[in-house]
Point group: C2
Chain length 285, copies 2
């Protein structure tokens, strides 16, 4: 028993919890150092006590004291936590994907195919995370939140996105209308959209002509258009008021929908939340 009243953390999360919990009882400089370490875990993993203490604006000895205060032998044992955190973490999806493509060429097992799709999906997620501008989401959410009815337009490979969106929006009690071509009436359906509504269109290269055409129609009617597509040169981007560029990686000829789905759900949840906070936004009621 060391009479500290707590166990010395055995992983990064435990350390984080302990620091947050005792933040107020920590000496000033120790707290300052701890805050820096939690905010820059990567630096801690690779840096030296000297370099880190300089960055954090404290003395090297403070880091030692911090470590010992939390029950570690010294800075080195504390740093081991930060290193352990990075370890085991698999290589980036980018690497894994190129690795898969290289080897074997043809006859790869089914497990490799799964690896490929998982890697492609992960890469798409990473790419979206890095490229997206938060302000753009805000604008799109704002636009959609004002709509009476949200029209959903997507065909072929993108159709599942519209489908999931319809499900999500209905769950969130947001009036929506999927523009479906199964009855051959999609042009008529889209013609019902007014400037008080909004259109959310999804299309990737090669763009389905019908989707482009109908999005153009809606835009000409004055209906706000939010587009999810794959390039600034996409014809969909030209007619949209706000558009998102999502680079979905593909594998075996089929594109992942992971990032697109995540973005679509974000818009759905975001607009529902916006309406909840400002009920005046909602077209009806």
């Amino acid at each position: 028993m060391d009479g500290q009243g707590f166990d010395t953390p055995s992983d990064f999360d435990a350390l984080k919890r302990l620091v947050v919990e005792r933040r107020d009882t920590l000496p000033k400089r120790i707290a300052q150092a701890a805050a820096y370490m939690l905010d820059h875990p990567d630096e801690v993993a690779f840096g030296t006590a000297a370099s880190l203490s300089a960055s954090a604006g404290v003395q090297p000895s403070t880091l030692i004291r911090l470590a010992q205060l939390f029950g570690f032998d010294g800075f080195t044992s504390l740093q081991a936590l930060f290193r352990h955190r990075m370890r085991g973490r698999n290589g980036s999806y980018e690497e894994r994907l190129s690795g898969l493509r290289g080897e074997g060429g043809e006859r790869a097992g089914n497990a490799a195919v799964l690896q490929g799709f998982l890697a492609a999906s992960g890469k798409s997620l990473d790419s979206l995370e890095q490229s997206l501008d938060p302000a753009q989401i805000d604008r799109a959410v704002e636009m959609l939140a004002r709509a009476e009815t949200i029209y959903l337009l997507a065909r072929r490979r993108s159709y599942p996105v519209a489908n999931y969106l319809a499900y999500a929006l209905s769950k969130l009690q947001v009036r929506n209308q999927i523009v479906d071509s199964s009855a051959g009436l999609s042009a008529e359906t889209i013609s019902f959209a007014t400037p008080r509504d909004a259109l959310l269109a999804v299309s990737f290269s090669p763009y389905t002509p019908q989707t482009i055409e109908e999005a153009r129609l809606a835009a000409a009617n004055g209906t706000p258009v939010v587009a999810i597509t794959d390039s600034a040169f996409s014809p969909l981007a030209q007619v949209a008021d706000v558009w998102f560029e999502v680079a979905e990686a593909d594998f075996g000829g089929f594109r992942s929908l992971a990032a697109t789905m995540a973005l679509a759900l974000t818009l759905a949840v975001g607009l529902a939340e916006a309406r909840r906070r400002r009920p005046s936004l909602s077209g009806k009621e």
Copy 2:
């Protein structure tokens, strides 16, 4: 000009390529050290020249020579490549997700919502990658490859999966039939399935009763059933010949479909490939 005939690598991939390319012209010990480093990149990132040289079975000076041979100043610059590889790589999706849930509680920006969905999707992918048994995929692929027609059964939140599968299978020229309830004829549709066909059913808790019922119907008819669901106790798992457990993380009440989509596409591409290799499998033609 240093007359080396190549540029010193600026990232891990470039180094890897260079080593592979010149493997045969490398001195024995240097090659030995290089092989170790490429095989244990994490060790290199964190270790010291002394510890690594011991693990690789060479002298510390060999590592320096290796580094200088490839145009680096010394071991430290070479190591920087390995560290850079780990850097920037974000924390695990697990961490990111719990981090998002913790802070703010309510009023998180739209960007945070996207982060949440991306993290949930990524976590689902990671989880599937770790948990899945390759042999199970092979069995499912084999079963599906033998089918004349593949019936696709999914409702509500899972429906987009069936939808994308229908698209993918058709593209791959695999006969398929989505069991659609929009015309109120789903029970009739599924009754067309014979033991020479196969059913691919997708359902997550709370299971849509109709999906379970119809899957049971098909199984009773002797149609092979492959299921994608979320638990060993799922009613869908009970009636399936092969079933997959996919743990999709959710965020804001909506589950990611990323892992499910990846698995579904794997089955589609896998079965198409199996038929291509053994045309006798294909029911028709």
